[in-house]
């Protein structure tokens, strides 16, 4: 029951660790804001986008996909079984988008002009489309998360009203997510001469969407298991193996898609060329796709929480590697031809750690003060 949240302790070694990261990271954010991009990052003319775009934006948004996957399962496909995980999934998505939006805010040269695209439309630009989606979808996620807020402050009527109109909200959210996840892939359609052929493909938008769904399923399952450990809350095995079955479909489909892209593009040989790119490509495929797929096909894995957790970690790491490959490693060859290389500075890492730590902290905070984890079980 809802009393569970009172058992969550705020003062634990983990919280302390998070606070230390947040404070240390805040210093790096301050440096970025006061000294500028040149002094605090390794970004340069021949490598204008780095770790923040790769991890915070591309990674953060992919990690947030769990929100729309679960929202559409519960509210569009009427799979009520997943209702207990809808709130944490949507909350994670909200935090993931905040991570991405903060990443963009710090990355752009004029943070305080971040609103410009909203008024200066340019529909030929994927960046414009991405920006508009971040704004609208973050609002939708806030609405999707609002019932627990209204519940908390005692506005039961409002809570019930928002829950009644959840279906159209979820539908809208799913629509925006489909477009947004795929348009992040479409960002790279304009660089056929720069991005390595192992990753450049006209199917980039589609492969970003499918891999985001994979990532979303794994993130939700990963989180349910973690929160059951940390917050002493029971994870529902039937939900976890249901998510695992969903993952098999998504990963299987992604596998076929990636092989198709490889064969119709640079060919099988490119994956085994022995270059840095080919190794990273194989790593991404092994960690994010092949190993998880094989493991999930074993019934013993699907029925063990520990093994599912491991598979989730593989998928999450694998897809993050994919995003890094597209946004950084796949572009390095071109930069190196122009005599430059890129590796993030300590400051860049610290800013990202700051955002991640803040996200986890806020999640914990929300679990403590709102009815996040034990919602929906009551009725069953």
């Amino acid at each position: 029951m809802s009393t569970e949240r009172h058992e969550i302790k705020m003062f634990t070694p983990m919280t302390l660790g998070l606070l230390i990261l947040i404070i240390a990271g805040a210093v790096s954010v301050y440096k970025r804001m006061t000294l500028g991009l040149g002094a605090t990052t390794n970004l340069q003319d021949d490598f204008p986008w780095g770790f923040w775009i790769g991890f915070d934006v591309l990674g953060g948004v992919a990690m947030a996909a769990g929100g729309f996957v679960i929202a559409s399962a519960v509210y569009l496909f009427n799979m009520k079984k997943y209702k207990p995980i809808a709130r944490p999934a949507i909350l994670t998505a909200f935090l993931g988008y905040l991570l991405a939006a903060s990443g963009i805010f710090l990355d752009i040269g004029h943070p305080f002009r971040i609103w410009h695209p909203v008024v200066m439309w340019q529909i030929h630009s994927i960046m414009f489309i991405v920006a508009i989606h971040v704004v609208i979808y973050t609002t939708v996620l806030a609405m999707e998360s609002s019932p627990m807020f209204f519940e908390r402050i005692g506005l039961k009527g409002v809570q019930r009203f928002v829950e009644k109109i959840m279906m159209p909200i979820a539908l809208f959210g799913t629509l925006l997510s489909t477009l947004h996840q795929s348009s992040l892939g479409a960002v790279y359609l304009i660089v056929p001469d720069k991005l390595h052929p192992l990753w450049y493909s006209s199917l980039l938008p589609f492969s970003f969407l499918v891999s985001a769904i994979m990532m979303g399923l794994s993130m939700v399952s990963f989180e349910s298991i973690l929160s059951s450990k940390f917050f002493k809350h029971k994870a529902d095995m039937s939900i976890l193996s249901g998510l695992a079955r969903g993952s098999i479909v998504a990963i299987g489909f992604y596998f076929v898609l990636k092989i198709f892209i490889l064969l119709s593009g640079p060919g099988l040989g490119a994956a085994f060329a022995g270059t840095m790119e080919s190794r990273l490509y194989l790593l991404e495929m092994a960690v994010g796709v092949i190993v998880p797929l094989i493991l999930l096909l074993l019934p013993s894995v699907r029925n063990s929480m520990g093994s599912i957790f491991l598979v989730n970690c593989f998928v999450i790491v694998g897809i993050v590697i994919n995003r890094m490959n597209v946004s950084i490693f796949g572009l390095l060859r071109h930069a190196q031809e122009r005599g430059v290389s890129y590796f993030p500075t300590g400051n860049e890492f610290m800013v990202t750690l700051f955002l991640v730590a803040l996200g986890i902290f806020l999640f914990k905070f929300a679990c403590k003060y709102f009815n996040v984890l034990s919602y929906g079980e009551v009725k069953n």
Partner: protein, 277 residues
Amino acid sequence: MGTNAIMEKTATDPAVRKMEASFLIDTTKCIGCRGCQISCKSWNQNGTDKTTAGPTLTNPPKLNSKTYTNIAFYESEHNGAITWNFSRNGCFHCKKPACASVCPVEALVKTPEGPVIYRADRCMGCRYCMLACPFNVPKYEWEKLSPSIQKCNFCYDRLLAGMIPACAKTCPTGTIQFSDSIEKNLTEAKKRIAENPGKYHNHIYGEKEAGGTSVLLLSAIPLDQIGHAKVGDQVLPDLTWKYISGIPAIIGVVLAAGIGSWVITRRMKNMDKEDEQ
């Protein structure tokens, strides 16, 4: 005068309005005096830079936020003798510029007269233009707290005032030939190649690159040997537009699928309940 103000003060001279600004840059004529580099700096009031010359004396070694154009020096062997090859870097003012197509706020725009210009007050600094430009032209003021993109603007202000760009004006050897028609320059380039067998590498860089550009380059040796990347003939903004123009269809499919599955799965749930009763 800011480029924004220039844009608003549309040229009144009908000759300027009909113009399709173009350069034909015949690098075989270049003597490496770097006059264009200097006059560009003066006209655009771009400060000096502390630089080190590259191994072949290119100085500054690359374009940067204070250098819209530079002359790159390359050595090559030609019929047993070492020769210098001078190449000019700068914006190509693409006919369908990738930089302008990706800019979310229309800070970069293709003007009707041909130049691709930048309006700093709109730019939010996402740097997508830098990623998208196949020629790596836009540069950033990394060291500044309020940074802008910097790149050649084809001396748009001069063009509107009836003058030719500063670099072309300065060039003592006729390497940089300005014309108000890309077609005219293209014809001239083809003529030079045809009339001087063996003098030119048979490729007009910019004729087809990135769907065609306003700046055309001629060279004695293959252009990738003088620092010009191989760029495909694809009109780059089209690649993105294929996706964007598909968005209405995606919206339709997702809405139909979403509503459809909601109706069906709800109906199925109800049937289950009825069966139980």
